[in-house]
Every structure is written in C-alpha cells, then in structure tokens.
C-alpha cells in the first residue's frame, strides 16, 4: 500500500510553487519574516527531493509499519451502524503509536530533518499530542527536542508534559498572549528565527507558510490512502461520505486527500463550535472567520474588524485554534468539502456514545467527527438505505481526555456509590 504521493504538484488540488491553493492569492502563500525564507526554501527543496527518492519513501514506510503500527485498521462499528441505519466505518488512528494520526507527520518530518543534516527539532503543541509525537520521533531518531506549549495548556495537560519530559524533550511554557496554542506557535517561530541554521521546525498541522500545508499533507495522507484501499478491499465500494474533525486540519487533510478526485464521495469537516457559533466561545474558523493572514498563510481566521486574532474556545485543546490550514479554506471556498460546526455538548455526547456502543474511548477532537459523521450517516441512511457507507476518521484516542471527561460527566462519584463488595 503506497502511503506517499511521489509527485507533488500532480493534482489540481495541490498548491502551486508559491503555496497558493486554487486561485493564486486566495489561500496559502508564505507571509513570514525574510529571515525564515531561506529555511523554508531549503525545506521545500529537501521535501521535493525526498518525495522523489525511493530510499526515503522506503525508510518512511518501514518506520511507519514497524514503529508506528501502521496501517491502522478500518473498523466496522456495527452497533453504531444499527443505530443510524447504514454502515459506519471508523479509521482507527487511535491505535497508532502515541495515540493519534500525528505520528505519521512527525516520522516524515524527522526523517526530513535527518536528511537535511540538522540535529535539533522544535515544535509547538496545544493539548500535547503533537509535542508527545515530536518528542517520540526525536527520541527514536536521536535528535535534540524543544517543545513550546502555552502555560495554560501545560497546567491543563500536565500528563503530556511529563510524557514529553520522559521522552527527553525540553518543554517550554509560553506565557505571552493567551498562553495557548497560537502563542506556542509564535514562540516556536521566534526560536526558529534565531536557530534556523541547525534547527528544524516540526510544524504540527497542515497550516502555516508554504511548504508546511503541503508537506504535512504528504506525510499524513496515508490515513486516506489506506482507508480508501481498505474500504474497496473489504466492502467493494467507496464510502458515500467521509468525515473528520478540523482544528488546524492535519487529520482531516490526511483523510480527504485520497478522496478529492472521487466526485461521488461527499467530504465533511467538523469544526469545534464550543458553546455554539452564536456565542463568542467557539473555534469554528471556517464557519465564522474571515479571510486573513495568521501564522504565515492566508486562510480563514477568527479576528476582529481590525485584524486582531480572537481567542478561540473548545473543550478539545487540539481544535482550539483561531486559524485553519489553507487547503481547507480552499476546499470550503470551492465547495469540494463541507465544513460544519459541532458543539462541546454534541462532541461529549458522541464521546460517551462511542465508549458505550463500541468500547472505544475517542479523543474529544475525534468525538467532533463522530458526532458530525453520525448526523451525516442518519441523513444518508434515509436517502440511500442500509447499504450506504460513512467513513469517519477516529484520529486519536481519549486517554488524555479523562480529566475533562471526569469533570464533564461527574464520573468520580461512582467509585464510592456502594457497589457490592
């Protein structure tokens, strides 16, 4: 099973040489300090060369297979299927090493770092999943690793801070701005401006300046390449619809890429609507944002009337980001994919539902995809009947979210509720 596209630029959905998706000037590009341009051009060249090098592809696939546990299974969720009236398939990225799709990206970027002869990697992290994945890859490849994390998030996700430290990474809390993911990205950029000659920035999502949206897409697209082949092999059909959650958008673009040319496959991305898109507390960037420039790319941004970034909110730290990858902006603009909001409450309901019906505790991020995907499945079931298929990307597992779940559902109580001895 091929997990990499050896010829970037081959699809009409790809960015042009300047990083524009679709019409030049609309989404993507490279809005960064001049000091970083040479590093991004070096990275672009290394990425193009690597993708055309069979030895690099072989290394990438071997590490994914033997270390990360890939390909991940495609699982028929029978009880959920019975519930909605058509076949529901889950792409089990939660079973990957480190618990999410993110390992795909960091293995690719760490291999690229080694190929470029750099010894140090830096990364930003929100909930800590990309930080843990980066620290893991750094340990595996013997690279020095520093992870920037908002001070608010280091307190919310102390367990992941400890995991990163155990893996040998230095975790730097970021106090500036809102002290969350966007500020961690700012701080990682500041580090990179000063360290660019010996340091690679392992960007955690398919956003940021060119080539990151395309480069990350190439490393995570295995999710969709595998899922498409598995669906055809196991069920003899393509899904009628696919669904993923969208924060920055790496798991979503990872799933979507293989299906973009399959016009009959409906594509859905679900954004975090927090308390609701009618409230100020949400992260529904495509739904409620306006075109702007954030973290190096032109895309949809949650911003005020003078271009100041508005802080996002989601119960899921991994979706709590006021921007979105520029390719998603383009896919929304062109209508090829549909992006809809899912609230905290809807996501938590799906979180509990999946645990009880299938014995899978998903990441709260992925629970947004489950909630939205099941909505789509119910509609498609009524339109097309029980043979219809909806494929949902279960991008990560929920171990990291138990603290949130305990608080949200008031779970701790049962322990003392007089169970039989």
């Amino acid at each position: 099973m091929t997990t990499l596209d050896p010829a970037p630029g081959a699809s009409r959905f790809d960015a042009d040489e300047h990083g524009w998706f679709g019409e030049p000037g609309l989404f993507g590009g490279r809005f960064i300090p001049e000091a970083l341009v040479s590093a991004l051009e070096e990275l672009t060249d290394a990425w193009h060369e690597a993708m055309a090098d069979p030895a690099f592809i072989a290394d990438f696939e071997q590490v994914q297979r033997e270390y990360a546990g890939l390909p991940s299974p495609l699982f028929h969720a029978r009880r959920l299927s019975d519930r909605v009236g058509c076949r529901v398939l889950l792409k089990r990225e939660d079973l990957n090493h480190t618990g999410a799709h993110k390992i795909r990206n960091v293995i690719g970027q760490a291999l690229l770092t080694r190929r470029m002869g750099k010894q140090r990697v830096i990364a930003e992290t929100g909930a800590g999943q990309h930080g843990v994945a980066t620290a893991t890859a750094a340990a595996y490849f013997g690279l020095d690793c520093t992870v920037y994390m908002g001070a608010v998030d280091t307190r919310r996700q102390a367990l992941n801070v400890a995991r990163m430290q155990l893996l040998g990474a230095k975790v730097v809390p970021v106090d500036s701005g809102s002290a969350t993911l966007k500020d961690a990205i700012n701080e990682a950029m500041r580090d990179w401006v000063a360290s660019v000659d010996h340091t690679a920035y392992l960007f955690g999502t398919a956003a940021g300046p060119h080539p990151f949206p395309s480069l990350v897409r190439d490393f995570v697209r295995g999710t969709g390449d595998e899922a498409r082949a598995q669906c055809l092999e196991q069920y003899g059909v393509l899904p009628d619809a696919i669904a993923a959650c969208v924060g920055g958008g790496s798991n979503a673009i990872g799933l979507f890429t293989a299906f973009l040319d399959d016009a009959e496959v409906e594509i859905y991305g679900f954004e975090a609507a927090g308390d609701g898109v009618d409230t100020p507390r949400h992260a529904a960037t495509i739904h409620s944002g306006a075109s702007g420039v954030l973290h190096g790319a032109r895309t949809y941004v949650l911003q005020d009337d003078e271009g100041q970034t508005i802080e996002s909110h989601s119960i899921s730290a991994g979706l709590d980001y006021p921007g979105v990858g520029p390719q998603h902006a383009q896919l929304a603009h062109s209508g090829r994919a549909t992006y809809l909001p899912v609230t905290d409450a809807e996501a938590m309901e799906a979180f509990a539902l999946l645990a009880r019906t299938e014995g899978i505790i998903p990441a709260i991020e992925s629970s947004h995809a489950v909630a939205g995907g099941l909505r789509v499945a119910e509609r498609i079931a009524t339109e097309k009947g029980p043979e219809a298929t909806v494929l949902i990307n279960l991008s990560g597992r929920g171990d990291k979210d138990m603290g949130t779940a305990i608080e949200y559902f008031g779970l701790g109580e049962a322990e003392t509720a007089g169970e039989p001895a």
């Binding site: 040479s38 500041r190 702007g292």
Partner: protein, 264 residues
Amino acid sequence: MSCARVFETTRAEGRAALVGYLPAGFPDKRGSLDAVRAMVDAGCDAIEVGLPYTDPVIDGPTVQAAAQQALDAGTRIDDVMRTVEAVASTGATAVVMTYWNPVERYGVERFAQELLDAGGAGLITPDLTPDFAPEWIAAADARDLDKIFLVAPSSTDERIAMTTAASRGFVYATAVMGVTGTRTTTSDLAEPLVARARATTDLPIGVGLGVSNGDQAAEIAGFADAVIVGSAFCRAVLDAPDLPSALRGLSTLAEDLAAGVRRG
C-alpha cells in the same frame, strides 16, 4: 514627510539617522503621543510607530510586553494614525511598523490612504516580503508611500536584490538572526549584510535589532545610513514608575543614541 528627506538631511550632516520605535498606545493612548514627541525632541530623526498586534512573531519579550500593554489599553488603528500625526506635526518622519493582517483586514487601500492623510511616510512590514505584497506595493506606489522591506543575514543575494528593488525610502537590514531585543554586543552579521545590500541599491540602509546604547549606535553608524532602536525605548518606558519618568528615560536614551550616530 518621506524618508528620503530625512536622509538628505543626515547625509548633508555626514551622519547616520536615528530611528526610534515605540508602539502606538504605549504606555497608554495619551502617553504615547507625549512619548513620540519626547523621542523626536531628544534627537530621533524618524519614529517607527508600531501597530500593536496579537501575534507578533518577530518580537522578543520587551516589545511583546509593550504591544500587549497597548492592546490592553484598547489601542485601535485610529490611535496609530493619531500617533503618526503627532510625529508628523513635529516635522519628523513617521513610518508605521505593522504585521500584515491588520492592514489586510482594514483594507490595504483604506489603510494606505489614511496613513498618507495622517502625514505618514510609509510602512515597515516585518512579515510581508515583496513577493507576497502586490496589493501593498500597488497601494503605496499610487501614493508615493515608502515601502520598507527587510533583508536578513540568511537572505540570498538574489533575494536581497529582489527586496531592495521593491523597496522605497530605505532598506531595513536585520542585524541578527533573531527576534527584537537589546543585546550587549552588536552583531558581526550586520556589516556584511549592509555591504551585500549596498551592492544592489542606492537606497539608504538602516540597521535594526539589538541596538541599546550610544556606543553601539556609533559602531553601526560607521557603516549604515540609519540606526533603528526599538526594545531599548520600550524598556525605558516599561521600567519607569510613571509617565514623567518614562518621558525622561526616553529623552536620556534618545540623547545618548543621537550622540552615538554623530560619532559613527
């Protein structure tokens, strides 16, 4: 007043220009107007008026703290324009230093026109390079506004040539690979970078990032046309207990730097 006028004066005087940076709205909206006037009175030839932004990726902790204070004080683009007017009314040159998104969101044409109307000379754009700036270049060229793009030690010769060709007013050479902030020694990357930029343009070259005292200013004035100082001015205000002492701090620093650019 355009930057070209400043350099006519300083070249006639055989010295480098002193450019001081302070965010608009810092330490607060009214204090900001007094602050830029004090900097001009004490010897700044031009003021770089910062537009405070939520996500300043090339600023170190000092400028971040200053900009955050300005944002917390409710600073808006209108306040930036009022600060530009305050500088222009002294006869000194005002340029605005801004990350790109606020300009894009406000409307490039609208921003450029209001800047012109306020008496501003142009923009310094730290996260906008000429190859991604067609809207700004068109809006600036239509109004004879200065387009001050940055070159860095990591820039290739080809990119330096492209950048200086697109610039107007002066070229901003970033002396260090790093974010804004004062440094105890000047960078040995600055002089070769200025030389590489000079090989491509007759425009004046300003050097910024890291300068904090008159001796450093003198050293840079030895090979550059302008010395740009930001964090040290912000620090002078942040360290002051009240506005009068902040203004005295700004004046003392500007006098030291102004003497420095005359020694260079």
